[in-house]
Symmetry: C2
Subunit: 200 residues, 2 copies
DNA sequence: GTCTATAGATAGATAGAC
DNA sequence: GTCTATCTATCTATAGAC
């Protein structure tokens, strides 16, 4: 069992190192040598464990995003009042963003450059939430617009301060503390904003 | 003058080709050979005109984004009622996005990987608009929140359907026509949404 | 200004010893 | 499983003929 434990440990080190480098540099910008250095192992071991750069990236990407999307699917299924459900989704989204601010841009970039990976994502959660929105609109509880307008509004309102962070901090000469405060207050702000938008 | 005309023409061909390839593949993913092919010229000519890949990218990036941001600066200076000004900014933003849907993700990516370029962007427009928001909030005409919350809301609401296009079309199995309609209706939707959000 | 040819560096991937 | 050494391909960039 000793060998297997060591193996798992190495695989984990590679996984963490590769995640970090891919997030920072993107797929095209990432270098296998850099990942190996970060993991404290040799370049050849990367290929021993994952065969190719593409496979390594694909596995990490799918695992990371499916974990997030499956959380959404669970939330959408819970038995709650509509706005409570929306709030829970926003809370979950903001929590994820605060821990992984690079996820939105990585998702967008990957789908653009590796469209084949899109099929491996489990998007039940998004479909369920869209269904909820459509049914609420039919009942007249919220404004009657295409549910995509609302869905993209929730997501856009949540992620924008994270996407804009580097550029906004620079333009307005803000320090990290100030910006962190903006991010911390974003959840409550978005909840209010969505209520205002959806009022029929 | 014949030589100069031919030179300008070649430079322009390179510019267009490079813009296309950088937008599609990103800086790290772009290849000088691909740009040369796209421009219908030889690879060596790229270096003759622009010295290096980095310089070529930097020049295109700065020109493209400063053109857009200077439009914003002009709008912010116009003598208009507040919501008329907001509407004009949204219209201008949506028009730009409909023609250049890749601009937001390219901006975000570039700032992340080439932070030195941030200093070459002229961000007067954004600063002016933030000033307008702050002064309106002080006057009590709109809700009293940090102006960054509003600024990122406007931008987030505008760009999200463009960022999400490939992934949303796939998840919900939408055709281009349907999605285009969503994009066309986005401007009016965002204007309403911002009014609802800002109401004190 | 424009081309061909190639230098020089570095990428991903593999062979083979241990 | 892990390493060193190396292959092969490909990248940016330049030299030099025209």
């Amino acid at each position: 069992m000793v060998n297997k434990e060591i193996a798992l440990d190495t695989e984990e080190k590679i996984w963490k190192a590769a995640t970090k480098v891919f997030e920072r540099d993107g797929y095209a910008g990432a270098r296998m040598q850099v990942i190996a250095d970060e993991a404290g192992i040799n370049k050849a071991l990367l290929h021993y464990y994952f065969r190719s750069k593409e496979k390594l990236f694909g596995k990490i990407f799918i695992e990371k995003y499916n974990k997030f999307f499956s959380t959404l699917a669970i939330l959408a299924d819970q038995d709650m009042e509509f706005f409570e459900k929306i709030d829970t989704v926003i809370d979950s989204y903001m929590e994820m963003l605060l821990e992984n601010p690079e996820m939105p841009s990585m998702l967008i970039n990957t789908i653009t450059h590796h469209p084949e990976l899109i099929d491996k994502l489990n998007m039940e959660g998004a479909q369920k939430i869209r269904g909820v929105l459509q049914s609420e609109a039919e009942k007249g509880n919220i404004i009657a617009v295409e549910s995509l307008q609302i869905l993209t509004s929730v997501v856009g309102l949540c992620i924008m301060p994270f996407l804009a962070k580097p550029i906004a901090m620079h333009i307005f000469k803000l320090d990290m503390e100030f910006y962190q405060e903006v991010l911390n207050k974003r959840g409550p702000f978005v909840k209010k904003a969505i209520r205002a938008i959806l009022k029929p």
